[in-house]
Amino acid sequence: MKLHRLVAVAKKEVLQIVRDARSVGIVVAMPIAMMLAFGYGISLDIKHLPVYVFDREGSQQSQNLLKHFQASEYFNVKKAVSDYAALVRALDRGTCKLAIVIPHDFSLRLNAGGPVSIQALIDATDSNTANIAIAYSQAVIQTYSQRVQLDWIQRHGIKKMNPPISVESRTWFNENLESMVNIVPGVVVIVMAVIGVFLTALTIAREWERGTMEQLISTPVTELELMLGKLAPYFVIGMLDTCLCVGFGTLWFGVPFRGSWSVFFIASALFLIVVLSLGYFFSVVAKSQLAASQISLLATFLPAFLLSGFLFPIEQMPVAVQAVTYIMPARYYMDVIRNVFLKGSPITLLLNDLLALAFMSCLLVFVATRSFKKKLT
């Protein structure tokens, strides 16, 4: 291998990147656009769920219960209606996700100390939201009925007492339980996966399409020099993009960065080598820019989105799917990035992830180098 040829290829590639407006778009605009779209677009927080109520009694007690709902940040009591049909219509239209019906003898039975049930109708098209709505509404009612119970006990002459057991929860790593804090580091992974592959996916295909490859392979440049020369500038660009994403995540979205920069850079470098080599491989195989970019999108975006634990925890996937995630480089990078951002985990806890990434990067560099042959077909 001759260094001067590698450098000549790298220089040429840089000149072409600089002169091509599209590649500047991919390098600068795409990460920012993706960070914004995903950062704001994906929110798993369920807050201010629209609620309609049908209070058939209208007593002090029933109003108190509804105030508890209103006080919760998870619900937003939008409207009180005066018949059942209006609730059904609202659920049908989707103007409310939860409808509460309070029976006509609510206060009566409450005062008698007897059991009383209220009806909750939930739009369960999205089962996840429905489950959370059920849990939250049960919590609201639990609190209210506890208070009613205590009042009742006090009124019957027993001195004030508190519930025997209570939970003092403290949330770590994501103190305010904001899903954005979890998602933004994940978005960094997705952006890097997509950008990394895209950067190199076009580089070989472009030479074939423009006919420059024939001249290039008639020179003594070797496959390895060509690949390293082409990957080097994109590696630098990719690392700058990683920093851009992290800067955006911390400064714009206010996500904490608690871990070590060196762990972050090691993991990012390894992951970049993986995706750049993958893009190079696609470019060699596809030989056309369009096909290469389509393969790239399918092969990186979907796995990074679905199988990396970005939105769906890997532990909860079916065993077969879990097995597939082990060959997804994004899975390991996702783990490192989340831990580095939120937990500030030391390198010793992330060693397995880093080793997996290191192995994959070696493997893909090898595959990418071997895939390209200095031959016409």
Partner: protein, 326 residues
Amino acid sequence: MEKNNGTPSVIVNNLVKKFGDFVAVDHVSFEAQPGEIFGFLGPNGAGKSTTIRILCGLLRPTEGKATVAGLDVARQPEAVRQKIGYMSQKFSLYNDLKVIENIRFFAGMYSVPDAAMAERADWVLEMAGLKGRESALTGTLATGWKQRLALGCAVLHHPSILFLDEPTSGVDPVSRRQFWELIHRMAAEGVTVFVTTHYMDEAEYCRQLVLIDRGKVVASGSPSELKSGAMKGELLLVGCEPLGDALELLQNAPGVLDAAIFGSAVHVVVTNAQEGMAGLMEYLSEHGVTVSKMEPISPTLEDVFVALTTRQAESRTKSAEAKNVQ
């Protein structure tokens, strides 16, 4: 500049290249000597580019052996590449790089030492007539300049053998002439120039010619050898009116081996010129064609080319049929 005096620069022995069932190169053999301009002629799709690509190590031969500068192209393609310069049929420098950037890039690929860099770049610019346009984007150059720059980039490392695949296609006559002056200069310096073309005037510039058709060598020799020996039969020039009808008649006339339009006349191949003339004269006037002139002539390379390449004959028949339909 390397000189392999005595041993041929290019030796091709029973070379075969198949793409699936299609035989692109069919047992081709020839030799090119050092310092000569070697012309490789043939119609489109005859296998010229395939052969040149095999010789540059860009394609693997299916059978046979090819040696370039004493190296087996199938076994030592990298060693071959350092000794040769190649210009592909399609312009293949980087259009989005400046002239000087293309030169520097290919100088890097060919390991031109830094010390020689400025002098070589200067030489290429001078040769291509691009002095003062170093920082023009290559894509903005006219075709003639592009071709000369491509030639310059292919010889930056002073190769001993130069492969040019239809280097002047789509280039205007003045630029073609300039290009050939460059080729002559290089050959005079001892470079073997292997060039494919289908311009007959360019073929005349070559010392040796190989004519191939459908992957097979149909004739070889110097231009004068080809002209005197390769034709089966003798040539008549027939000046007549109307030309289209005359061609059609002549192609089907008794005793005529071949006929083709050249300028405002028809060239007719017959077994014997003197015997054929009288019969043809009669035949044409019987069919309402006025003959203004009929004389035996010595064939040009184009006559040889047309007579020996069957594909051209076929397409000519087709165009004649098309005329009939109209």
